[in-house]
């Protein structure tokens, strides 16, 4: 294909500013999807995305516009999925930066725009939702010009809802975004920028050909994995997967290579021809650093192996997950997993449950601490259970985030209170415009992890937005709060917190567990303790009675079945010492929302 006829771009924006809806209009306008097959946010194909109304996975699709071939990638906007965006950008020469014309610049508008600049991409900016009565495109065009340096007159004005201006946007893409460069005669270099495991077709990878030509049926070499595979099928998504005979430089499509070992088709892999290999792989990606960790355990202990396979397969589709086996006294065998944020953690857990039919328990989220020991060693701890004994600890350091919050100025006060209560340190305040402020804070990651986002949203009536990145480690007065059931430590509930908040955590956890743990045949004391000193206690009183119903001729069968069921339930319970706890108690007790 003539390189000059190709345009590759990602649609980027803050969450909910209308990327997927814009993609819908583009699919319609280019007749890629029939009107009768159209549905809102067509590219959000996962159930989870449709239920939550957000994009989780970037999706690429090929459309035709005025004699040119466009590959567009709809990306997610949530801060936890920034890695999806940066991977997508590596397959593009430009971006469409969408900004809600009623909201203006938000935190991820900035973050994603900076990402595009880092990748040297051409930016086509568009103010969206101009159909809304509250839209104020003139004002926000100025804001974009001031903050991002994009001339106001270059900013398009569109409504992804009505379709207004979308044709002009596509024209702008065609004119302004450069065609890809590449050498069709050079040895093949194709970048895998995403992969997913399909139950029926095996591993399906999204690829961007940089140099050379990829032909169906050829023998391929996966350069980093050092594995040889055949190109069983190559094709393009229009968005229906459509096989093609070859993909040339600048083209984006998919590759099915009959891969069994899911580790071979990682994002960032470079594919070349076996017979004529490229001398160098492409730069690929640096896997992002996980921020939040938790243990994932199958409720049914027999599912451990299934969990391992499932995480492996999911990792293909989400390279940012890290995992390694761990064991817990109460929960048995599971994995310590790392995530980019809390939403990410929640989504991964839910995808594992849905896509692989698992029932899982997630332990309380933790960050990665650096523990300086009295003997001079440093230990990295992401699981409270692994914290060395108090007497061996010199001090503990915790990760801090550089947090930026963009908000209408009337919420500055209440948001400063929030940051304060989360041990935040104010950096600078910047006015983006007379009405809007960007606040810079240093906040311990552990404090951001716990419902910070929701608090910020509710205090600002939804108007504030948040972006953050790791800024470094600092020494803090941290302690481990242990939970003891009947005198036995329940590692799944223990946590590391700032000393000022330890008592509160201990008390709340004791109260919750008292509500949740079913009565046993004996009194169960629940204690929260710091280094052996009890700071809070509750008791689950012994069970005094069970069913006292009639047991005559017709009741005997029923009774026996009841007992059988009770026995089955007992088998599934997790035991801490002699205390038997149903799996869902862990789930409820470790819920974050209160």
């Amino acid at each position: 294909m003539d390189l000059a006829k190709i345009r590759n771009f990602s649609i980027i924006a803050h969450i909910d500013h209308g990327k997927s809806t814009l993609s819908d209009r583009i699919l319609e306008l280019t007749k890629a999807v029939d009107a009768r097959d159209m549905r809102a946010q067509y590219l959000d194909s996962m159930d989870l995305e449709r239920e939550r109304g957000i994009t989780i996975k970037a999706q690429n699709v090929r459309v035709e516009w005025k004699g040119h071939t466009f590959h567009l990638i709809d990306t997610p906007g949530h801060v936890d999925f920034g890695y999806e965006v940066s991977r997508s950008l590596a397959a593009c020469e430009g971006v469409v930066l969408v900004v809600d014309a009623a909201q203006g610049i938000e935190a991820q508008t900035l973050a994603n725009c900076y990402l595009a600049l880092e990748h040297d991409l051409e930016i086509v900016a568009a103010l969206n939702k101009i159909d809304l009565p509250a839209a104020d495109p003139d004002r926000y065009a100025m804001e974009i010009e001031t903050v991002l340096g994009i001339p106001a007159e270059d900013i398009l004005r569109i409504s992804a809802k009505t379709g207004e201006g979308v044709d002009l946007l596509l024209d702008a893409v065609l004119e302004r975004i450069p065609a890809p460069k590449g050498d069709a005669d050079a040895p093949l270099q194709a970048l895998i920028f995403d992969s997913q495991y399909d139950q029926y077709r095996g591993v399906v990878s999204s690829i961007r050909v940089v140099n050379g030509t990829l032909t169906a049926g050829s023998k391929l070499q996966f350069m980093n994995a050092n594995a040889t595979q055949e190109a069983v099928e190559i094709g393009v998504r229009r968005p229906t997967p459509t096989p093609v005979a070859e993909l040339g430089p600048g083209e984006v499509g998919y590759l099915i290579a009959g891969i069994k070992d899911v580790g071979e088709a990682r994002s960032g892999e470079t594919v070349t021809m076996l017979s004529r290999q490229a001398s160098e792989p492409l730069p690929g990606y640096q896997d992002p650093k996980p921020m939040v960790f938790c243990g994932l355990y199958p409720i049914d202990g027999d599912d451990f192996e299934l969990l391992r396979e499932s995480i492996e397969k999911l990792k293909l589709n989400d390279a940012s997950i890290t995992y390694e086996p761990e064991t817990s006294g109460a929960l048995g065998f599971g994995f310590r997993c790392g995530f980019l944020g809390l939403l990410h953690m929640e989504i991964v857990k839910e995808r594992l449950e849905r896509e692989f039919n698992l029932a899982l328990i997630a332990t309380a989220p933790s960050v990665e601490y650096r523990v300086r020991k009295t003997n001079g060693d440093t230990e990295i701890v992401d699981n409270p259970a692994d914290l060395p004994p108090t007497q061996n600890i010199q001090h503990i350091e915790e990760p801090y985030f550089r947090v930026s919050i963009i908000t209408p100025k009337e919420y500055t006060g209440t948001l400063m209170d929030l940051c304060q209560s989360r041990r935040g340190e104010l950096g600078k305040l910047e006015y983006l415009s007379p009405e809007r402020v960007e606040m810079h804070y240093q906040v311990p990651l552990a404090e951001v992890v716990v419902d910070f986002f929701d608090q910020m949203k509710s205090r600002s009536q939804g108007y504030a937005s948040l972006d953050y990145e790791l800024s470094g480690y600092r020494q803090s007065n941290l302690v481990k709060v242990d939970l003891l059931l009947n005198g036995q430590p329940a590692d799944a509930f223990s946590t590391i917190v700032h000393r000022d908040k330890a008592f509160d955590y201990g008390r709340r956890m004791c109260e919750k567990l008292k509500e949740l743990i079913p009565r046993q045949m004996f009194d169960v004391p629940i204690q929260a303790a710091i280094g052996g000193k009890v700071i809070s206690r509750e008791t689950v009183k012994a069970k005094r009675k069970d069913v006292l119903a009639k047991c005559y001729g017709g009741d005997i069968t029923r009774k026996r079945k009841l007992l059988e069921k009770q026995k089955e339930g007992k088998k599934k319970m997790k035991a801490i010492g002699r205390v038997e706890i149903p799996g869902d108690v862990f789930i409820s007790a470790l819920k974050l929302d209160d």
Binding site: L548, G553, K559, L563
Partner: protein, 323 residues
């Protein structure tokens, strides 16, 4: 009744064995013409010392009815008393006058029916511990030979099940059970199954048969039968039952057949509930230790003490058939 008679007739024709106990219950048998009822019973192959119990609503017991039962061979009546407190009866949705219980008991005794069971329910929300105390006091004063008392249970699909505010409280029910047990024991009624107390020798033989996995045949709609490990139950509605009897087809709605292992375990679970208890090897050592306060142990046998009876299920699920 005609269908019932026909059903019994067919069973007898098929070689039904002599029975030692008969229990007429479910619904309100005391509303049926007593002579008709007794003719059905007498169509059965009864043993000479047969225990024949009829369940009665205290509201429709008269001396005449009791005489009819007696002369038809009945040896025992069971009265659905529930409570002797009007306020509690109201909560339970039964509006009979406790006075009827007294006259019913008198009527039975006058007619010469000596074995009398009073059936109680405790644990409803709104019933005080004093309500229970006075009910038991009045029950004892009536000198029945047998008392059964059941905790109010939330059955799915009932109006109670839709109103969690009226769900019985575990601790409250436990307190009431312990009170009932001690009052009855003090008055000379011995507990012989979790919810059943009697004067010596007045244990209900029919109940014991159930709990010892004996064989029994059930006649009528929704009646259950058990023959050598095969449990079956009849169709639910009278119409279907009548049709099936008329056409000579099986009245069975369904059945289950217990394997040897399940049967053994069930036998243990039932035995645990009774006075004689079970051999202690059926509990593992750590469980025995943990459950110590709920059991009395003697000569290698374990019995549930009053607090243990309250948590019989918890103990039953820990039973092992053992070697």
């Amino acid at each position: 009744m005609a269908a019932l008679l026909q059903d019994v007739g067919q069973a007898v024709a098929n070689g039904m064995q002599t029975v030692d106990t008969v229990f007429v219950g479910g619904g309100t048998p005391s509303l049926v013409d007593p002579d008709l009822l007794m003719s059905v019973i007498n169509a059965l192959p009864l043993s000479s010392k047969c225990e024949i119990t009829i369940e009665c609503n205290p509201d429709n017991v008269s001396e005449a009815l009791m005489h009819a039962y007696k002369s038809g061979g009945a040896t025992r009546i069971s009265l659905g008393v529930q409570s002797m407190r009007t306020n509690v009866l109201k909560i339970l949705g039964r509006e009979h006058n406790p006075e009827n219980v007294r006259t019913a008991v008198e009527a039975a005794k006058t007619a010469g029916i000596d074995e009398i069971n009073l059936d109680l329910i405790y644990g409803s929300v709104g019933e005080s511990i004093d309500d229970v105390r006075s009910t038991i006091g009045e029950v004892i004063a009536l000198q029945p030979t047998h008392v059964s008392a059941y905790g109010l249970t939330v059955e799915p699909g009932t109006p109670l099940a839709r109103d969690p505010s009226r769900f019985p409280d575990d601790d409250d029910e436990a307190d009431k059970y312990l009170l009932i047990n001690s009052l009855l024991e003090d008055a000379g009624y011995a507990n012989y199954e979790i919810s059943n107390w009697s004067r010596k020798g007045s244990e209900c033989r029919h109940n014991l048969l159930y709990w010892r996995q004996g064989n029994y045949l059930g006649f009528g709609c929704a009646a259950h039968s058990h023959v050598n490990g095969r449990r079956s139950w009849n169709v639910r509605t009278p119409d279907r039952y009548i049709d099936l009897v008329a056409s000579g087809e099986s009245r069975e709605a369904s059945f289950e057949e217990l394997g040897q292992e399940a049967r053994t375990l069930e036998a243990l679970q039932l035995a645990l509930r009774m006075r004689d208890g079970i051999d202690e090897r059926h509990l593992l050592a750590p469980d025995l230790e943990m459950l110590e306060e709920f059991l009395t142990r003697e000569n290698g046998r374990i019995r549930l003490n009053p607090r243990g009876r309250l948590v019989a299920n918890e103990i039953a699920v820990r039973l092992v058939a053992g070697s």
